[in-house]
């Protein structure tokens, strides 16, 4: 089956961050959220950022999204500096952030309507395609409050994918879900990532989740937010969160994390 041009995969983006710093507040009460962070994310690579609260990983994601600006350093997407939010980089949050006044279909259409060059019929087709991809085609006329937490995040995923971005930025999108729902979504996300070939930057403080999803797991430590270590996850996909090999990776990563975060600052779940 051939897909219409709008539905063909956009070329994934390469992200390049060099010496990115970000300071919140000034003087004695200032917090250095990011201290000269450098990170390369390859085309269609799945990178997970892990660290305790306050290590700046969400700030970094916001900077890549263009929602916040860095105080210093360079943030490039395919060699172009990122200055503002753009359709090429879509973001998913811990809350679904769906609009309650719109039904499921209209939520997915929201971003598509802002994309130039798409007709009414085309937009509808695109939205339906992504709702099918996340398995919610039957619920296109439901209102948001009628959906479960997992379904809401699926709609949010469809909404983020619909404008065909080249990068998907995910800020602890599954943190508020129950374990069973989360496991299903791990499977779905891996399948969709393979199918749609996106560059994904995924923030979490769940080490096992990071090891399950990422090609690479990047470890952050707080005060100031810095990258400490990187782990390459060499496991075949799709990965099962409960597999023994995966547990081995997450044990090693957790140990490293505890070493950096130590004591009261440790807020990490394996």
């Amino acid at each position: 089956m051939t897909l219409p041009p709008e539905l063909q995969n956009a070329v994934a983006t390469k992200l390049s961050l060099k010496n990115v710093s970000k300071q919140f507040g000034t003087g004695a009460r200032g917090v250095l959220a990011l201290d000269r962070v450098s990170l390369e994310v390859g085309e269609a690579e799945f990178v997970c950022l892990v660290g305790p609260s306050g290590c700046g990983k969400s700030t970094l994601l916001n900077i890549i999204a263009g929602l916040e600006h860095s105080d210093g350093g360079e943030v490039l997407a395919d060699g172009e500096p990122i200055t503002a939010p753009g359709r090429a980089r879509m973001m998913m949050f811990q809350e679904p952030a769906l609009f309650p006044w719109l039904d499921v279909m209209s939520n997915v259409l929201f971003g598509l309507k802002l994309k130039p060059g798409l007709g009414r019929k085309e937009r509808k087709e695109v939205a339906q395609f992504y709702l099918r991809l996340v398995g919610l085609e039957r619920f296109q006329h439901s209102y948001i409050h009628e959906l479960s937490g997992g379904m809401k995040q699926r709609v949010a995923l469809a909404r983020a994918l619909a404008p065909n971005p080249r990068v998907l930025l995910m800020d602890e999108p599954f943190a508020a879900l129950d374990a069973l729902t989360r496991e299903q979504l791990y499977g779905d996300l891996q399948r969709i990532w393979k199918e749609r070939k996106k560059t994904i930057v995924f923030v979490t403080h769940n080490v096992r989740e990071a090891a399950c999803l990422g090609d690479r797991v990047v470890l952050f430590s707080p005060h100031p937010g810095r990258i400490r270590e990187e782990f390459k996850i060499d496991l075949p996909r799709p990965r099962d969160i409960n597999s023994v090999e995966l547990a081995r990776y997450s044990t090693v990563i957790t140990a490293a994390l505890k070493g950096y975060a130590k004591g009261s600052e440790a807020e990490v779940s394996e």
């Binding site: 999204a65 263009g66 809350e95 952030a97 609009f99 309650p100 006044w101 929201f110 802002l114």
Partner: protein, 255 residues
């Protein structure tokens, strides 16, 4: 269907009790006329056009004044929500003036505009506008910031974000502010019409006050019934559809 039957039985019961009290002759029939007399007054007043005429005059004042109150109040509320300086100035003024019972505008309006329609519109606008400003401002400030961030990543900016995200997200607050504004406007208009004769039109408030002057209790109660019906119909027609929509979409309905 079942609920409307309940309502019908309830109101029929009230009229029946009223009739029984009348026939028991506890009070003078001058003070408590029978339902039949009130019904006859209403029928006659409908027949000779006084009731319809007065209702139209009153509703015209209310609807036009309310419309302008909304049209002015909504954008001002958006602006005070958007700009801190306006919130600290106009927002504060609105909060103060909203606590002022809106009937207090009547003397001022009469001195400024005389016994004219202008005075009536002014009173209705003053009843509406402050509630709408404050509700809009509160509604916008209560929109979860994540909505704005999500919209921005999808390419929404400026006016599109305000019209497409902030305004609908604030709708539950705005609708309740509109409802409050309507109630304030309606009360102050009635007070104004009873308080003073407006030369440019004879409204329901005047009809009510003339009932008092003529010692015609059937007229007083008849007009009060008309006012009550107008209030109920306005609520059902103007606000119930909005509230149903909000309940359905936000999932806040209890039943």
């Amino acid at each position: 269907m079942k609920r409307s039957t309940h309502a019908a039985i309830f109101f029929a019961g009230l009229v029946l009790i009223w009739g029984l009290i009348y026939h028991a002759r506890i009070w003078s029939p001058v003070l408590v006329p029978s339902p039949v007399e009130v019904g006859r007054y209403l029928w006659d007043a409908l027949g000779d056009g006084t009731l319809v005429g007065a209702t139209l005059v009153t509703l015209r004042r209310l609807v036009i004044g309310y419309f302008f109150g909304l049209v002015l109040g909504l954008p001002i509320g958006l602006l005070t929500a958007r700009f801190k300086l306006l919130k600290d100035t106009i927002g504060l003024l609105a909060l103060g003036l909203q606590t002022l019972p809106s009937v207090c505008w009547v003397p001022l309006a009469l001195l400024w505009f005389g016994q004219t329609e202008g005075a009536m519109f002014f009173v209705v606008i003053m009843g509406t506008i402050w509630s709408v400003i404050i509700a809009t401002e509160t509604g916008i400030s209560n929109v979860p910031p994540i909505y704005g961030r999500a919209a921005r990543t999808m390419g929404s900016t400026g006016v599109h974000t305000w019209v497409g995200v902030m305004l609908p997200a604030a709708l539950p607050f705005i609708v309740s502010g509109m409802k409050q504004g309507w109630a304030f406007a309606w009360r102050s208009l009635m007070a104004a019409e009873i308080y003073v004769t407006i030369l440019s039109g004879f409204g329901l408030g005047h009809l009510l006050d003339y009932g008092r002057e003529l010692n015609a209790m059937d007229q007083v109660i008849g007009v009060m019934l008309v006012l009550l019906v107008i209030g109920l119909v306005a609520d059902k027609v103007l606000f119930s559809p909005w509230e149903r929509l909000l309940h359905r979409r936000w999932g806040t309905a209890t039943k």
